[in-house]
Amino acid sequence: MTRQRDTAPKFLNLFEIRFPVGAIASIGHRISGVLLILALPLAAQALERSLHSEAEFRALLAMRASPWASIATAVVAWAIAHHLLAGIRHLLMDLGVGHRLAAARASAWFVNVAALAVAIAILAAGLWSGGAR
């Protein structure tokens, strides 16, 4: 049996495995975290620009007209929302709140849906204000 251990296949096709709702919340927490790390230099740059001149300050606050900017903003908004909500869920569980299965599943659902809702709302706002221009 063990002679072929090194070459033995493993079943690990992620598309064929059904993931529980908590797993989605968890990988979303990780992906959003990595995205935010990558966005951190941009945040520092935005800080600098927002203080540099009034025009730049206004430009940053307004959603820029291009659809790409709206999408990028929505993605960052999703990342902040999901990471924040999933993180708070983690902290509450550290304190023993909502760690039992039913509550954990419910809170995971909430995190997943709420973060997406925030992203969609910001995308809609961005595209709508862009279209109105």
């Binding site: 493993k10 079943f11 064929e16 495995i17 990988i27």
Partner: protein, 227 residues
């Protein structure tokens, strides 16, 4: 009923494949295992482990329509067709739905799953209050089928260092047992084997552990870690 079963013969196949079956359940067949036995009447090369047929031995754990479960207590009525059967994720496949559980059981042995109490043996049993015994509820029932651990992504990527839910649960089962007297040592050993920061015993304990996390960890007692 239609099934799609993962097939792999190490002697003849270079790669696994999926094979379709259409099998009539018998009049008294209720569970997936019953159907699998009928599949073997059509093609007896289809291989899977099974024993108790009542959900207490854990032999027939497998991935059923994407979710891990026990074939013998999976009602046929609950299954969407085609029923897709694959081996437990992440373990080397021995043949068809049979996986190599060696790592899993090695990890089980590593947590010393037995009572350690060197007090002289009492005449009958070592006593335990009903409250103390209740602490073991939800822990002792585990049949070590590995469905949970093999659905954990952290276990897939790092099973050489991460014990996984089943074994961690059993580790706690022995920590929680009031009759056991090795609790301190169990905790020490667990800290070392569950932390990412495992050290070799002869390495400088004050040096950064960042680059030393490695399989087969042996380390220092937790007091030196905490100091």
């Amino acid at each position: 009923m239609k099934l799609r079963i993962y097939r792999f013969d190490p002697d003849t196949d270079s790669r696994p494949r999926m094979q379709d079956f259409d099998v009539q359940p018998g009049p008294t067949d209720r569970m997936l295992l019953d159907l699998l036995m009928r599949v073997r009447q059509v093609d007896d090369s289809v291989s899977f482990r099974r024993s108790c047929r009542e959900g207490v031995c854990g032999s027939d754990a497998m991935n059923i329509n994407g979710r891990n479960g026990l074939a013998c207590i999976q009602p046929l009525a609950s299954l969407k067709e085609p029923v897709v059967l694959r081996p437990l994720p992440g373990f080397p496949v021995v043949r068809d739905l049979i996986v190599d559980m060696t790592q899993f059981f090695k990890q089980y042995h590593s947590i010393k799953p037995y009572l350690v109490n060197n007090d002289p043996a009492p005449e009958r049993e070592r006593l335990q209050t009903p409250e103390d015994r209740e602490e073991l509820n939800g822990l002792y029932e585990c049949i070590l089928c590995a469905c949970c651990s093999t659905s954990c992504p952290s276990y897939w990527w790092n099973s050489d260092r991460y014990l996984g839910p089943a074994i961690l649960l059993q580790a706690y089962r022995w920590l929680a047992d009031s009759r056991d007297e090795m609790t301190g040592e169990r905790l020490d050993q667990l800290f070392i084997t569950t932390s990412r920061e495992g050290l070799n015993a002869d390495e400088d304990p004050l040096a950064g552990s960042l680059f030393r996390a490695s399989p087969g960890v042996v380390g220092l007692p937790v007091r030196e870690f905490a100091g």
